[in-house]
């Protein structure tokens, strides 16, 4: 494992993208990760404001017709190596909007997704477990 990969696993900067149809509960649970109880800054994980600074694209919500091309564009704006994490039932497989006329596709039909975090909403512990899986994936371990 090279120095760059090791540095990447120790300092993941997260851009949080809420893609359209969502009840915002996942977003609230994501903010829990930054509170004193969980404090993911211990592992170098911070939220950043711009997709250009990001290493991880954290997508919540099921993609609406309007949001889907824009989500794809944000993914293309992220400098590589970049990772994508789908968070919550909506981002995984459109959730309760599964048969909606306005939610055309799942997230992984649009961009390669590295880690899926199921739950509606997922608990912060589940998200930390997902991050651990993501780091292991970057390191090339199972």
């Amino acid at each position: 494992m090279g120095l760059k990969t090791k540095a990447l696993t120790k300092s993941l900067w997260v851009f949080h993208l809420c893609a359209g149809g969502s009840c915002n509960n996942c977003d609230i649970e994501i903010l829990d990760l930054l509170t004193p109880r969980f404090d993911v800054e211990r592992f170098g994980i911070v939220l950043v404001g711009s997709a250009r600074h990001a290493d991880v694209l954290l997508v919540t919500g099921s993609l609406t017709r309007k949001a889907a091309p824009r989500a794809r564009r944000v993914y293309e704006q992220m400098p590589k190596p970049g990772l994508v994490v789908a968070c919550g039932a909506c981002a995984l497989g459109r959730g309760i909007f599964n048969e909606g006329y306005n939610t055309p596709c799942r997230l992984d039909e649009l961009m390669p997704v590295d880690v899926y975090i199921p739950g509606c909403p997922p608990k912060p512990e589940a998200m930390i477990a997902g991050i651990a899986k993501l780091i292991n994936k970057v390191k090339g371990q199972k």
């Binding site: 760059k4 540095a7 120790k10 004193p36 404090d39 404001g49 711009s50 250009r52 600074h53 400098p79």
Partner: protein, 315 residues
């Protein structure tokens, strides 16, 4: 050969060593990144969190070096060159200041003025870089940064003029330090204390820290001036900020509080000033740009003018 006398070649080598290794680029970058960790750690403790390990900022820089560099449409050369100019001038300030502490008598007359000019260049490089990225949010950030420079430069220069008056018109950082070693620090006099408070506020704005961080407000304009930067240029900007975080408190120590400049005294004073800056950062909301200009041109300038008058009367 008498100690302290070098041939021309040796002198050049010494200057190069000073610029690149100690007390220039390498040393100031390491100290600055560790101070950046102190900033993050104190912030975390204020918010009742644990905070990152001490090597976190080094890892961030190494990671950014390995990322893709995306250059937006627009002026590519200025976009990529402007972070470099900011870094070079910040390193030059660190070198001049460090040499003034190591050998106070070896500086040149007027280096305080050179330092004042060089300290503006990082902010100007951020403005030029932001404008050349052709991003609307970056433009908003850059225009705020410009107004911020206009706001804080006046009281900052007046505060430094107070110091110059109090140290009998010395225009050299080394002789200002010598004056304070002989006659006590400027901080212990009323005018010096007032000017010191003003200068602390100004370096808070120079470092782009809350309450004066409206140029890169993450919540409203998403990183503002730095929004289009990624990879190496972003790492250079982070390094520049780290070096400024080391340089500016050191400048204040040299101007106001240099009665005792042993190594441990310097470290203690530096950490004290750093923690004060970080605590101010953590206990204040962000101000709007119009409030900032009113604040700096109103009460702050009045206070520093009072300090100037007191200094002219010798208090």
């Amino acid at each position: 050969m008498v100690k302290g006398r070098f041939t021309a070649a040796e002198k050049e080598m010494k200057l190069l060593f000073n610029y690149i290794i100690f007390p220039g680029f390498l040393f100031s970058a390491v100290i600055g990144l560790i101070s950046g960790w102190v900033d993050r750690k104190v912030t975390a403790r204020v918010q009742w969190r644990v905070g990152p390990p001490w090597y976190q900022n080094f890892i961030d820089i190494i990671k950014l070096l390995g990322k893709e560099i995306i250059v937006p449409q627009g002026s590519k050369i200025t976009f990529l060159l402007s972070p470099l100019f900011g870094l070079l001038s910040a390193v030059l300030v660190a070198t001049i200041l460090g040499n003034a502490f190591i050998s106070p008598l070896e500086g040149f007359i007027g280096d305080i003025i050179v330092v004042l000019y060089l300290l503006v260049i990082p902010a100007i490089s951020i403005i030029i870089g932001a404008f050349s990225s052709r991003n609307c949010l970056a433009s908003v950030g850059a225009s705020r940064e410009m107004k911020l420079i206009l706001a804080y430069e006046l009281p900052f220069i007046l505060a430094i003029i107070v110091v110059l008056i109090k140290s009998a018109g010395a225009l050299q950082i080394g002789s200002i330090i010598n004056y304070q070693i002989n006659f006590g620090s400027h901080l212990s006099s009323p005018s010096g204390a007032l000017a010191f408070i003003v200068a602390m506020l100004c370096i808070q704005a120079k470092l782009d820290f809350v309450p004066f961080d409206m140029s890169e407000a993450e919540q409203e304009i998403m990183g503002g001036t730095l929004i289009e930067y990624s990879g190496l240029p972003l790492a250079i900007f982070k390094l520049t900020k780290a070096i400024l975080l080391y340089t500016l408190p050191l400048l204040l120590i040299s101007l106001f509080w240099a009665n005792e400049i042993g190594v441990w005294a310097l470290i203690g004073k530096y950490i004290l000033l750093l923690v004060i800056i970080v605590l101010v950062k953590n206990t204040n909301p962000r101000m709007r740009i119009d409030q900032t200009i009113k604040f700096f041109w109103g009460p702050v300038t009045v206070v520093v003018t009072i300090a100037l008058i007191l200094a002219l009367f010798g208090l």
